[in-house]
Every structure is written in C-alpha cells, then in structure tokens.
C-alpha cells in the first residue's frame, strides 16, 4: 500500500520534471537552420561520393599511385581508371613501353592516373575503396547538393574535380 502510494507520488513528480524539461527546451534557441536561406556551417562526417585527396606539396596532383586496388575491390565496379607514367621527356617515354630497362634507369617515374571516373549511379557508398587505398588518396566528399536529370550527370571525373578544387583554393 505504502509502496504503491510512493510509486504514484514519484510518478506524478516525474510528470512535473518532464514538463520542466520541455519548458527549458522551449526557451532554448533553436538548433535547426532555415535551410534555403541558411546552411549548416560544416558537414564534417558526411559521407558523400568519393573524391581524390591532393598531395601536400602540389594541390593539383592526387596522391593516387594508380595501383587500382579500389577498382578491383569495388563491389559494383563503378570506378574506372587509366594509369600512365608521366612523360617528362619525349624520347625515353617511347622506350618505356618497349622494354623494362629504361624503367630501371629512371626509378622516379611513378605511374599516376590519367583518367579517374566514378559512376555514382551504381555506387553503394560502402567505402571499401577508401579503406583499401594504400596511400589514403581517396576520401568521402561533403557534397550534399547532388541532383540531376540525367544519369550522365552522375558520372564524375574525379581528376577534373581535383583540379577545380585546387583552382578554387588558389583564388
């Protein structure tokens, strides 16, 4: 009997506590923003489509070594990449394709991507490419403003995107 009464009074008290909590929240400033006119300041942690990470010393070049781990691990095969070795001089580049000797002569000529495309239509945002990248050259972008009328709009050229970002940063 006494236990029931105590529980009831405790319950009634908890109702008042609940009303106090909503009253405090009522007075507190709102934490949402008026979206089209305001946007949230940062989208840290948002997992959008993947993008290339620039090198520390050269923002126009990506860290990618064209190992194509990401291409192989992608479950929906939505990454396509073409690799090539940079042509610093015209003459040795022609030899490089023929035999292995010139490559041994020039150990600095690392391969890099000349085409890095993401077909976002098929991407499931699983993140395996980001995890498997040995040089941490891939990351999730914070691009939330994705809308389009055609499928072609969602085939992203990530190298061009990197160039654009670097240019914007320089300005």
């Amino acid at each position: 009997m006494i236990k029931t009464l105590r529980e009831t009074i405790g319950g009634l008290w908890s109702l008042l506590v609940g009303m106090k909590i909503t009253a405090i929240n009522f007075k507190s400033p709102e934490i949402t923003v008026h979206y089209p006119r305001q946007v949230v300041p940062d989208l840290e942690g948002f997992r959008g489509h993947i993008e290339l990470v620039p090198k520390e010393d050269d923002p126009f070049k990506s860290k990618c070594t064209a190992c194509s781990n990401c291409v192989r691990i992608c479950p929906t095969s939505c990454i396509s990449m073409k690799a090539a070795k940079p042509k610093k001089k015209e003459a040795p580049a022609a030899e490089a394709e023929g035999s292995q000797e010139p490559a041994a002569k020039k150990p600095k000529a690392k391969p890099e991507p000349v085409l890095f495309e993401l077909n976002f239509n098929y991407c499931s945002l699983c993140g395996l490419c980001v995890q498997s990248c040995p040089t941490n050259a891939l990351r999730f972008s914070d691009d939330v403003y994705l809308a389009g009328f055609t499928r072609q709009e969602f085939v992203f050229d990530l190298l061009a995107r990197l160039q654009n970002q670097a240019q914007k940063k320089e300005q």
């Binding site: 109702l15 609940g18 009303m19 909503t22 009522f26 400033p29 709102e30 934490i31 949402t32 008026h34």
Partner: protein, 326 residues
C-alpha cells in the same frame, strides 16, 4: 418593415447574433490554436515550426484551411454515406451549442440559464456518438478500433468528470455558470482552485481524456491506428472533426476557468480579457502537456481512471459534503 422586425422576439435576435459570434469565435480560435500548437511543438523540439507562409508562418493555418476546402470529398466503398457524412456534423453542432451558456464576461453571455453546466456536460457527451458513427460507417478496421477506444474512454472518464463537477456544484449550490463565476473573488486566493485543489487536478486530467488530447489521444493514435476514427475522412469532413476537436478544447478550458479559476473575475481589467487570458493559459498548458508526455497504453488509460480517478473523485466529494454539512 420596422413592425416586422419589432414582431421578432428580442430573445431570437440575441440568439441569432450570438450564434454568428460563436461561429466566428470558434473559427478564429481554431486558426489561432493550430498555429500555437505547431509553433509550440516546434519550439519544444528546438526547430522554428511553421515559418514559410507569411511572416513567421502566421498564414499557415489559413493555407491549411484552403487546402482542406479544396480537397475532393470522398466516401469509401461500402460505407453508409448518409451516416458517414452525418458524423462530422453531429460532432461540430453540439460544440457550438455549448458556447451559448458560457459567461465570457459580466455582461457577455448569450443565455444566462440555470442549467448551464448540465447543458454543456450533456451536449459534449453527444460527441461520443459522432465518433462512434464515424468509426462504424467508415468500413475500416482502424476507424472501428478508434471508435471503440473512444467510447470506452469517454464512458470511463465521464464518471470522475461529473463527480468532480458535483463537488464544486455542492459548494456553490447552483448549476448556473454565471453564478459560479460570480461567487468567486477577483484574486487567486478567492478562486475555487484553492478550496478544491484535488478536484481541479482530477477535472483537468478528465478534460484531457474527454477531449482526446495527448497523452490520452488513443482514439486517433497515429502510430497504431493511422488516424483512428477520421482515417477515411478527406477535405471538409476531416476539417469539421478537427474544428470540433478544437472547439471542445476551448469549451473544456472555459469550464476549467469558470469552475476553478474564477471565470471572468479579475482585478483592474474588464472581465472579458481576464476570461480569455485564463482560457488561453489552460489551453497552452494542454498543448504543453501534449508535447511532453508519451501516449499511455490502453490498459493504463483505463487503470488510471478506474483505480485512481474515480476513488479520488468520490473521496473528494465526500470530504466536500462533510465540510458543507459541518
């Protein structure tokens, strides 16, 4: 022409004008309450609430109303269309009648009748019938369940409601709402809430249940019954139920204000403003409660009523009678 007008009894003209005023009052209240409800919900959730239609969204209820007026009126297959469309009218009509006996101010009352309180309690009871018809004729299991819940809820909560009203009536010795309000003083310590605090709490809980407000909104529990008894209603059918719900809320708040908060009594300002202020404070508390507490389960709802409210109401009545007898 003038003779023809003079031939009409003055009482009819009073009722006619009063009824028009009630219609305007109910409509305006619904618009204001919808806005307040959504804004308060927003602020409690720490979001802006309606904001886009008009400055700070003040035209939102009007936009909602226009949308409801423009919607297609639709009767479900197999429904009894006569009863189906009668139900919203049965719901709204008694709500309007209730206002004629309410004293809004010392000189602002349409009919000063000796049975004002009984009239309001009787007419608000008709709403149960409307919800029952609506649920029964909708040919929809959600509607039927909502109606069944509403009936068991209303029948249960009517008992403590009437008993607590009785304890105030025994104190004042009258069913006349004007006399009950006039019997209280201008200052808060002269109001009946001081003499009858338990009755006030019980009455307020019963009012929440009778008007189907959260946490007792089981007849229209969205998560389990889509919309309960008004699932199948579109356009103005739904709007009438909605209007009726808010009208009953206002009626209930008026009764709370008259029985326990001194009605139109108050210092300095004219009585009408005191009355409206008190009614709106009660309404705001009802809205506040709605956005604070989760919905109770059905067995909990009936347990609260039968195990707590009715015994406490009877106890309160007995104490009141003992005090009066001494």
């Amino acid at each position: 022409m003038i003779e023809a007008i003079e031939a009409i009894p003055a009482q009819f003209i009073v009722i006619f004008v009063g009824f028009l005023a009630i219609l305007a009052f109910v409509g305006l209240n619904a618009v204001l309450l919808v806005y307040l409800e959504r804004k308060i919900a927003g602020f409690i959730h720490r979001r802006p609430g309606p904001y886009e239609v008009g400055p700070h969204g003040i035209l939102q209820p009007i936009a909602d109303g226009l949308k409801l007026v423009g919607k297609q009126i639709f009767t479900p297959t197999g429904a009894d269309s006569y009863l189906f469309w009668l139900a919203p009218m049965i719901s709204i009509a008694p709500a309007l009648v209730c206002f004629i006996a309410i004293p809004f101010g010392p000189h602002l009352q349409i009919i000063n009748t000796n049975v004002g309180l009984i009239l309001i309690l009787a007419f608000t009871g008709i709403n149960v019938l409307a919800l029952c018809i609506a649920g029964w004729t909708s040919q929809n299991k959600y509607s039927l369940l909502g109606a069944a819940r509403d009936i068991s809820q209303s029948v249960a909560y009517e008992i403590p409601l009437l008993i607590t009203v009785l304890s105030v009536v025994f104190m004042t010795g009258t069913f006349n709402l004007f006399d009950i309000a006039a019997g209280q003083g201008a200052w808060p310590w002269q109001w009946y809430i001081v003499y009858q605090p338990l009755a006030f709490v019980l009455f307020f809980i019963c009012v929440l249940a009778e008007t189907n407000r959260a946490p007792f909104d089981l007849p229209e529990a969205e998560s389990e019954l889509t919309a309960g008894f008004h699932t199948e209603y579109s356009g103005m059918g739904f709007a009438m139920f909605f209007l009726a719900e808010y009208a009953y809320m206002v009626v209930a708040s008026c009764i709370v204000a008259i029985l326990f908060l001194g009605g139109f009594q108050g210092p300095i300002a004219p009585g009408v403003w005191w009355f409206l202020a008190k009614v709106y404070i009660v309404l705001l508390v009802m809205i506040w409660i709605r956005w604070t507490f989760p919905r109770v389960r059905f067995d909990q709802l009936l347990n609260i009523c039968w195990k707590w409210l009715i015994p406490l109401a009877v106890l309160n009545l007995l104490i009141t009678l003992a005090v009066i007898a001494l």
